[in-house]
Amino acid sequence: MKLKGWKEVTPGAVILEAGSAAHFKTGSWRAFRPIWKEEYCIQCLFCWLYCPDMAIKVRDGKRAEFDYDYCKGCGVCAFECPGKKGNKAIVMEEEGK
């Protein structure tokens, strides 16, 4: 994408387009990657609720895959995940391993 010049930027850096955070991909910041283990998922959607970005997809009311373009690897989803019978449905794995 061509970067705008100083004459083209909005005064005061005000963002005029709603939902434009989708253009800003933050996945490259990640040091740990959350892995979804569907067999332990109880579909509580806590991960979707707690995710501070939009890294968890929901399809037809059900937990779907991670969208790693927006996952910074903060681990909040893994922390909050109640899992099933003592097994977390989200676990963090180090990137690049």
Binding site: K4, W6, V9, P11, G12, A13
Partner: protein, 393 residues
């Protein structure tokens, strides 16, 4: 018809705010500004204005509330002095960076330590580079007139920047002077309806304020701010022309007093200019060609115009009511020096620091300076480039 009253500077500015009737005011008391907001809050309590008055717990909060209200789409005012302005420092840059036209009378007072409540320019000089426009006043009339014009300047669609209206603490804020008030309707017509730009409260057009801007864009926003600043003088002049039509009082970027044919000159901000003019008249009577330049628009500083107004002189003294510690000279001196640098022919410049912490600036101080300038003009010899005057050894 204008109404002539006896009023303090604080009272006159509070009256200007009443006439404008802004949407929101967030304020915290601090000497010597307290009387200004006390009077304005009485207008709110008495139902004379419709302003939403937000009482906050600090000046940091006052400016933060102003930022929120202005981003929301309101015409917003506050006022402060000294430590209060210092506490706002962080948020000053946010107000200007977000291009919010907040209006703030600053009743100039010295900074602590040692703590002092009296008139001095250290506070506003500390906010010199905050991206705000600064208009300086010599007396209560100018403080009143500058406050009204500040709304037009700040809210101009080519500007959209916050404005400080500077008036000397106690000397202007608490002295009772003759002031001409305009008719309420004339002031309201002059400032006009507030034009909202990208207001947060327009929920049909959602916007976001204050995003993180990384190295790929930060410089573009700074350059845009600098470019807007460069166009402010034109808006200030046009606003002054319009204001003259309703008031009969003329305002430019600075005031020139007997300077065009002068050989020696003083440059001085604020209330001390009045005392100096009186002394200059006495020197003129003695056949000494003395004059004065009093900056009004201090930020953005009109370098070219000021340089052109001073370059014909033989010797100039810049008087600063603050000191830029470690910068060798006072803040005003540094700007005057910069203004004159491009000219091949320029006066010898000296700097005096005066009146700190409310120390009286007396006619004999102006006489002392003018005599020294007359000597420099004659001999081209300078005793010292910078010194404190009115200070005990």
């Amino acid at each position: 018809m204008a109404k002539i009253v006896a009023a303090t500077g604080n009272e006159a500015v509070a009256n200007a705010l009443r006439q404008v009737d802004p949407d929101v005011c967030a304020a915290y008391p601090i000497t010597p500004q307290t009387e200004l907001m006390q009077r304005f809050s009485s207008f709110v309590s008495d139902g004379i204005v419709k302003t939403e008055l937000i009482l906050v717990e600090s000046e940091h909060s006052a400016m933060s509330a102003c930022v929120g209200a202005a981003a929301g789409g309101g015409r917003v005012v506050t006022a402060t002095s000294s430590q209060g302005l210092a506490l706002m420092w962080e948020i000053l840059f946010i107000a200007s960076g977000l291009r919010l036209p907040v209006i703030m009378p600053v009743v100039n007072r010295a900074l602590s330590a040692p703590i002092n409540i009296h008139g001095d320019h250290s506070d506003a000089m500390g906010a010199r580079d905050s991206g705000w426009i600064q208009l300086w006043s010599e007396n209560a009339q100018e403080a009143y007139d500058n406050t009204i014009q500040a709304f037009r300047i700040a809210e101009h669609l080519n500007v959209r920047l916050p404005v400080m209206i500077c008036l000397d603490g106690f000397i202007i804020s608490h002295s009772i002077e003759r002031v001409e008030y305009l008719e309420d309707s004339d002031v309201q017509n002059f400032v006009g309806d507030y034009r909202r730009v990208n207001p947060l409260l327009d929920i049909e057009h959602p916007v976001s304020y204050g995003p993180l801007i990384l190295p790929d864009y930060y410089m573009e926003f700074r350059k845009a701010h600098d470019d807007v600043m460069a166009g402010v003088d034109e808006v200030v002049l046009k606003t002054g022309d319009e204001f003259e039509k309703i008031s009969g009082r003329r305002y430019g970027l600075f005031e020139k007093y007997r300077i065009d044919d002068a050989e020696i000159g003083m440059v001085i901000l604020g209330s001390a200019a009045g005392t100096s003019k009186d002394v200059i008249d006495g020197f003129r009577d003695m056949g000494i060609k003395a004059g004065l330049l009093k900056p009004r628009l201090f930020r953005p500083f009109p370098y070219e115009e000021v340089g052109s107004a001073l370059n014909h002189l033989k010797a100039v003294c810049v008087l600063d009511r603050a000191d830029a510690f470690g910068g060798s000279y006072g803040q005003l001196f540094l700007d005057i020096s910069t203004s004159l640098y491009p000219f091949e022919k320029k006066p010898i410049l000296i700097n005096k620091i005066y009146g700190l912490g409310g120390r009286d600036y007396l006619p004999e101080h102006a006489e002392f300076v003018l005599k020294e300038l007359a000597g420099i003009a004659e001999t081209s010899k300078v005793r010292t480039f910078k010194e404190y005057i009115g200070v005990r050894e």
